[in-house]
């Protein structure tokens, strides 16, 4: 009869197990509650041509992605979570792991430049998307989002939300290694 007193504990542990499972998956990037099915995966990246954030007379566009595996990171100075992933992108840039292009999304140029001045600039270059048109083409739901683009200029992965070291190791690094080994 004593076993029945263990029932509440058992139920709770089952629940805790479920939460642990979910959190663990979130940490590794396997489960992302805000992930929505993206139709862009394995499709050529939507073409665009935008002014460079730092040099408005130059443009950045789809051709920049060709011939290399690169990251395309959507960010804005008004975005709180961008501050969270920013140090990790700085680290990636320092390690020279992969070229990171930025899409400065619905931002003021002055704010964006100050943000990079203060926190550092991990981007090879940032495109300045004041009206958010390119973001719409790319299916950007929120900021930050990070895309992996392969040598042929196809989108291979979309990750919404801030990128952390754990998520990087689990989801990005293997994919990038695989893409680099592909013929392109």
């Amino acid at each position: 009869m004593k076993a029945r007193f263990l029932i509440p504990l058992g139920l709770f542990l089952a629940l805790a197990g479920l939460f642990w499972f979910v959190l663990n998956q979130m940490n590794r990037g396997d489960y992302n509650p805000r992930e929505l099915p993206s139709a862009l995966i394995d499709k050529p990246a939507p073409t665009f041509s935008l002014p460079n954030l730092h040099q408005p007379d130059q443009t950045i566009g789809t051709p920049n992605f060709l011939g290399q595996v690169s990251l395309f990171n959507v960010w804005a100075s008004w975005c709180v979570s961008c501050r969270v992933e920013h140090p990790f992108f700085m680290e990636l840039a320092r390690r020279n792991e992969v070229p990171i292009y930025g899409l400065n999304y619905k931002d003021e140029r002055a704010d964006a430049l100050r943000w990079l001045d203060q926190l550092g600039n991990p981007y090879v270059a940032s495109a300045f998307d004041f009206e958010g048109r390119v973001g719409i083409d790319w299916g950007v739901y929120g900021v930050p989002e990070t895309f992996v683009v392969d040598k042929a200029g196809k989108i291979r992965m979309r990750f919404p939300g801030p990128v952390t070291e754990a998520i990087w190791n689990r989801k990005f690094a293997p994919l990038i290694a695989q893409l680099r080994s592909e013929q392109g």
Binding site: F5, Y31, N32, P33, G161
Partner: protein, 656 residues
């Protein structure tokens, strides 16, 4: 400097909490009076440091110190003073600090108002609350420090959402937290009793008033949230069954079961294990709610993935607190013997059935809340569980509960006679059924089984109370002889009946329509004519508004009300807000909200006729007042003196 002092005060509070959680507890084990006596001063010191920390944060907000990251994110130099203060709990870190402060406050209150309780009992209770405090302070200091500096400082803050610059939302979170955290007292009493291994009527009596007060706060908090949603959102809804609401509703359901179960444990010395379990559950669900809505696991809407470490931390904390206490329960509970035996027809049976229904209802809410998470996590599909699920489950559970409520509280303890009860209540039963069919029919011309059932059950609950009150007045010394706790119970149950009437009638007879209206046009609805006279452009202090002029006339042409719904655009954030025009009344609300302009001067307009909606909040207020009446019963003030007597065994209180 001040933020650093606040940070330092938090660290000191943590140190005190560690002392508070360990030394008095060790004192009770090794019988060291000096260590036991440390509990109360520790609780006071803890309170002092938390007040200092909270004060430091308030000061940072008042002084517009935008070098503090949290202030920069949630305030602005142009924000009026009162909103700068309420912005303190407008964000994650600050609301956690408020949580901690309230916990400190409850602990302090226990230390103050338990002068006549045995010292080692108080020491255990305060130590358990100290343990909880350690968890929250660590969480704050390690993952969510509100005093983190921003380098370089922001020139100005990001401002508080205009929506939060509203009385309802200033008061709603602190009220809810008072309830959530208040259940920690019942929890601490239960754990203290389990540690001591002495579960008797005494601890039930000690924790009862605390639990009731926490429940009252929670009741008011939930009602306030619902009321705010109704008047501010321009949509006419008052309950959405979304995860955050559910997170507060689940502990409320268990808390309701707990205050009833505590009564049985106190008076009849039975259900003791069940009561302890409920005390653990009520607080566990408060913590669980905190976990679900702050860890980001629940829905994308409330996701907060910037720091998954927070989720892991809270989960570990949950495991420790809930897992630990349930393990303690599994260890200690088998030794507890209930002495109060009872028959099938008895008040105990009614209480038990009501309890089971409440717990099952909580389970159903929990299932509906977690089901999308489970499916999503196992990649079985993205789903949402809508209000129809909750309604479909809730109504069949609440109907029998109300049926029991009409007669259960008036049964004798131990054993009652079904035939006598039937004879006493058959008149009420008959009247209720007739009223359930006739009242809606007379008032609205139609009646559905659902409406008839709702009204009949409400009449049944109130009628049963009236019959019993009459009997008591005749048998005891008139109205004065009726104890305050009895008035409290009757008021609270009547409040529930009022809520039921409100929910039933407003759900069944509300008339709502979204229409296209141009100035000069009118619409007839529910016997009223709504005239759209004109729209002005008005400039407010920090917004521009389209200001509607509506007239409402009754069937005989007389004017009922003039309403001015607005569509505001806040200049700084270019944020549109709808201000609904509401003509409130005891029996119906008339509600007008302007949607969007459709061109040619026409507007999309929402017009609602909502019968009996005010009864929802009226009923909740009655319930809360009933709780306050019960908690202030003189029995509790005298309780301690007779505590010794109560431990001896079941006290003959058949008539109370």
């Amino acid at each position: 400097m001040v933020p650093e002092l606040g940070h330092f005060a938090l660290i000191l509070a943590l140190c005190v909490a560690i002392v508070q959680a360990t030394v008095p507890l060790a004192g009770t084990v090794w019988r060291v009076p000096g260590w036991i006596a440390l509990a109360r001063p520790a609780a006071s010191a803890q309170m002092l440091f938390l007040v200092l920390a909270f004060g430091a944060l308030v000061w940072s907000f008042i002084a517009n110190d935008f070098s503090v990251a949290y202030v920069a994110q949630n305030s602005n130099s142009a924000l009026p003073l009162e909103y700068r203060i309420s912005a303190v709990w407008g964000g994650h870190e600050g609301s956690l600090l408020l949580w901690g402060l309230i916990l400190g406050g409850w602990t302090f209150a226990v230390a103050m108002f338990s002068r006549r309780l045995p010292d080692d009992m108080v020491a255990r209770v305060i130590a358990v609350m100290g343990l909880i405090s350690i968890g929250f302070l660590l969480f704050m200091l390690l993952t969510s420090n509100p005093f983190d500096r921003l380098v370089p400082p922001a020139p100005d803050g990001r401002d508080l959402n205009p929506l939060l610059q509203d009385f309802g939302l200033i008061v709603h979170p602190p009220m809810l937290y008072m309830g959530y955290v208040g259940f920690s007292v019942a929890f601490a009493f239960a754990i203290a009793a389990l540690i001591e291994g002495r579960l008797d009527a005494t601890w039930a009596r000690w924790s009862r008033p605390w639990t009731i007060v926490a429940w009252v706060f929670m009741t008011f908090g939930i009602a306030l949230g619902s009321w705010w949603a109704y008047y501010e959102l321009g949509w006419g809804g008052w309950w959405f069954w979304d995860p955050v609401e559910n997170a507060s509703f689940m502990p409320w359901l268990i808390g309701t079961a707990l205050i009833h179960s505590l009564a049985v444990s106190e008076k009849r010395n039975t259900f003791k294990n069940w009561t302890v379990l409920l005390a653990i559950f009520a607080f566990s669900l408060s913590l669980l709610g905190t976990f679900l809505v702050r860890s980001g696991v629940l829905t994308s809407v409330h996701a907060f993935a910037s720091d998954p470490a927070r989720g892991i931390f809270i989960l570990a904390f949950l495991l420790l607190v809930i897992g630990g206490s349930l393990a303690l329960f599994a260890w200690r509970a088998p030794a507890v013997k209930s002495t109060g035996h009872f028959q099938l027809v008895a008040r105990e049976t009614a209480m038990l059935s009501g309890n089971v229904l409440l717990v099952v209802a909580m389970g159903a809410v929990l299932l509906g809340t977690l089901y999308p998470l489970i499916l999503d996590a196992f990649a079985l599909g993205k789903i949402s569980v809508g209000p129809p699920y909750f309604n479909a489950v809730f109504v069949p559970l609440m109907a029998p509960l109300l049926l029991i409520l009409g007669v259960g509280p008036h049964m004798r303890w131990k054993q009652d006679d079904a035939a006598t009860l039937l004879r006493r209540y058959r008149f009420v039963l008959l009247v209720s059924v007739v009223a359930g069919i006739l009242l809606p029919l007379v008032a609205y011309g139609t009646v559905t089984p659902g409406v008839g059932l709702g009204v009949a059950l409400a009449c049944w609950v109130v009628g049963g109370s009236v019959v019993d009150l009459g009997r008591r007045v005749r048998t005891s010394r008139g109205l004065r002889g009726v104890p305050r706790s009895y008035w409290g119970m009757t008021t609270a149950h009547a409040g529930l009946a009022v809520v039921v009437v409100g929910v039933t009638l407003t759900s069944a007879y509300s008339t709502e329509s979204d229409v296209r209206m141009a100035p000069g046009e009118s619409l007839e609805m529910a016997g009223y004519t709504f005239h759209f006279d004109s729209v002005d452009q008005v400039a407010g202090p920090n917004y521009d508004a389209s200001f509607g002029h509506f007239r409402i006339t009754a069937a005989d042409g007389s004017q009922v009300a003039r309403l001015n719904p607005e569509k505001r655009i806040y200049r700084v954030q270019t944020m549109p807000m709808t201000e609904a025009g509401i003509d409130g009344g005891l029996f119906r609300d008339l509600f007008i909200a302007m949607g969007e302009p459709l061109g040619d001067g026409a507007w999309a307009v929402r017009i609602y006729h909502k019968p009996f909606i005010a009864w929802l909040w009226l009923g909740a207020i009655l319930m809360g007042c009933g709780g306050l009446l019960a908690a202030s019963d003189r029995r509790y003030r005298l309780a301690v003196k007779s505590a010794q007597a109560a431990t001896v065994g079941p006290v003959a209180t058949a008539e109370s």
